[in-house]
């Protein structure tokens, strides 16, 4: 276990080390301990390209995606715990939609976005990521695990349907919420193809696009490139580490519940 962990961490370490030294990654023999570490690469990245702008774009889009997911997925998940006509068909429709790869939906998605007039905006970038079917089902499973009698008790205590959801269901679904936050922030943070298609001006580009651009512009600034990579990775890791306990619970409880 420890060995595997170490093996998996080596590339991360390597990226970090290279970003701190700027040595050639093909140097042989490789230096295990960074020689003469410095932060110049980070400073370079910050000033050479509009990194703060990319970062801001990424943060805005990710926030929108996460909020959208929390709002829409909880609502949809709650609806799916109730009986309504044709519920089976709705579930079937959702499940079959999961089978369609995103690439196949790009053209209609583009047309819809342009029809809505949000091309080249933050909302446009976040739009297809505002709700994720798998995450709807994570909420559904989590809500279904809340005992029926709790909801009955809350209704007798005088709570409206909406309040039952906010005061009872959501507090008891923390793992599902954490799972949603992590998965969606990582997905939208890393999203590449859709932002590439939808953005035209450089000011709207997100970090992954910035990275690609950066790559094509300056080929041999290895250290700076790796510094960029570290800066892209860190927020995702930070969110994951903060929420990992709940996250793992959420994934497994979702798994056993189907």
């Amino acid at each position: 276990m420890v060995v595997i962990c170490v093996l998996m961490l080596i590339p991360f370490y390597w990226v970090l080390k290279t970003s701190l030294t700027g040595e050639n990654i093909y140097a042989y023999p490789p230096a295990i301990i960074p020689v003469d570490p410095h932060l110049f690469n980070y400073v370079d990245v910050w000033y050479m390209i509009p990194f703060p702008r990319y970062l801001l774009n990424s943060v805005i889009v990710t926030l929108m995606a996460v909020c959208g997911n929390l709002l829409f997925n909880t609502a949809a998940g709650y609806a799916l715990t109730r009986d309504f006509p044709a519920k089976r068909w709705v579930v079937l429709l959702l499940l079959s939609c999961m089978l369609i790869p995103f690439q196949a939906t790009i053209i209609p998605a583009y047309l819809i976005t342009s029809w809505l007039g949000v091309l080249n905006t933050h909302l446009g970038i976040a739009l297809p990521m505002l709700s994720t079917i798998i995450c709807i089902f994570i909420f559904k499973a989590s809500f279904e695990a809340v005992p029926r009698s709790l909801i009955d008790a809350a209704r007798i205590d005088g709570l409206s349907e909406w309040r039952v959801m906010v005061r009872i269901m959501l507090p008891l679904s923390k793992p599902a919420i954490a799972t949603n936050v992590i998965l969606n922030s990582i997905w939208s943070w890393n999203a590449f193809m859709w932002p590439l298609i939808i953005t035209r001006s450089p000011e709207m580009q997100t970090l992954p696009l910035g990275l690609a651009r950066f790559l094509s512009v300056m080929e041999n600034t290895t250290g700076a490139l790796y510094a960029f990579v570290v800066l892209v990775l860190v927020p995702g890791l930070a969110i994951f580490l903060m929420a990992q306990k709940e996250f793992i619970q959420g994934l497994t409880s979702g798994a056993t519940k189907g």
Binding site: P147, D152, A153, I156, D157, G158, L159
Partner: protein, 370 residues
């Protein structure tokens, strides 16, 4: 010209009993095409403690949940304190319910659990605190109010669940098998507790259980349900002394009443495999069931009784205070509750007698008392 008051208002003004307590009129419940409650009529007086009892699946919980407003009412009418509540939300019916699994909010402390509903009813903070403190004192859980539900034992959770109902000071308490998750000893203790509580908190109560002992000990009146119908309503004494149907006879009392096939001929009741008993009544020639409680079978020779049968004991169960003796009457298994040490072991012959007054006669076909 003054309008005459609506008919319903006249009716209610005329009979005061309809303006308080709970009334059920022809209440029907169907899930899709299957009907599970078939027209229940019941009047529950103000401050009365009524127990619904019956076998699993007979519709007790369904009926209770309809009164609570958690299930739609397919047909009929439910009134609480004179007001028709069919279309009201649970929160507007002013009822409090205690659930089998307690249903405490796991993410709130005991105090918050108890205070929760009051918050939504616009009760002032100080008043909430006063009421919760008082309920906690009554239930002896004052030291637990800061804990989370998972830090409580089953019995303590049960108390908190009751506390949550008490602080509401509702029109009606509803209990759905509140004790069935507790072990036998705690169940008896909590039963006593509920009984004690009744004297301090006088509120109309409907209590569901499938345990006839709980029903007998707690109830002012018992409602015996079977297959979504009321079999009998009466005080514990009434349902025990004069069961209206074979079902009630065999459901109330432990061990259950012995039911022996019989026939009435020439003014006597001929019990298959036993002696003929004198009997007056119009049931000539019909197939009957003679019901005799185990405790009413006494050793032959007891004054005021008539000899019934010389039984051969097949099983002897000494309970200390008395002895249960199993035997057969013409192929029908039966049980007698006899004084301790009157029978020692299986195989002994036991002459048994019964007082004619203690024989309940039912129509075998309809199950109704005659």
């Amino acid at each position: 010209m003054p309008m005459p008051p609506p008919i319903a208002a006249v009716e209610e003004a005329a009979s005061p009993s309809l303006s308080s307590g709970v009334q059920l009129r022809g209440v029907v419940k169907a899930y899709g095409s299957t009907q599970v409650v078939h027209g229940v009529d019941l009047d529950i007086a103000d401050k009365e403690f009524v127990v619904f009892v019956g076998p699993s699946g007979c519709g007790k919980s369904t009926l209770l949940r309809m009164i609570a407003g958690l299930e739609d009412i397919t047909g009929g009418q439910i009134r609480i304190d004179g007001r028709v509540v069919n279309e009201l939300d649970p929160s507007d019916r002013d009822v409090a319910m205690v659930f089998q699994d307690y249903a405490l909010y796991p993410h709130m402390t005991v105090f918050e659990n108890m205070a929760f509903s009051l918050r939504y009813r616009g009760v002032a903070k100080a008043e909430i605190r006063r009421r919760v403190d008082e309920a906690a004192r009554i239930l002896d859980i004052e030291s637990l109010v800061a804990r989370m539900p998972r830090q409580l034992s089953g019995g303590q959770r049960q108390r908190v669940a009751m506390g949550r109902a008490i602080v509401r000071d509702p029109r009606v308490f509803l209990f759905d098998e509140p004790l069935s998750n507790l072990d036998a000893k705690l169940r008896v203790a909590m039963r006593t507790e509920i009984k004690r509580l009744r004297e301090r908190v006088a509120i109309t109560t409907i209590y569901v259980t499938h345990d006839q002992v709980e029903a007998m000990t707690l109830a002012d009146r018992i409602v015996i349900l079977n297959h979504g119908r009321i079999e009998q309503v009466g005080t514990p004494e009434e349902v025990y002394d004069t069961p209206a149907t074979v079902f009630v006879a065999s459901f109330i009392g432990a061990p259950p009443m012995n039911l022996l096939p019989a026939r009435q001929e020439d003014g006597t009741l001929a019990i298959a495999g036993g002696a003929a008993m004198p009997r007056i009544g119009a049931a000539e020639g019909r197939a009957l069931l003679a019901g005799i409680r185990p405790e009413h079978l006494v050793p032959a020779g007891t004054p005021g009784t008539l000899p019934l049968i010389d039984a051969r004991a097949t099983l002897v169960e000494p309970l200390g205070s008395d002895t249960l003796v199993s035997f057969e009457v013409a192929g029908t298994p039966a049980i007698a509750r006899l004084p301790p040490r009157s029978v020692r072991r299986a195989g002994e012959m036991v002459p048994l007698a019964v007082a004619a007054d203690n024989i309940h006669v039912f129509d075998q076909q309809t199950g109704q008392r005659i």
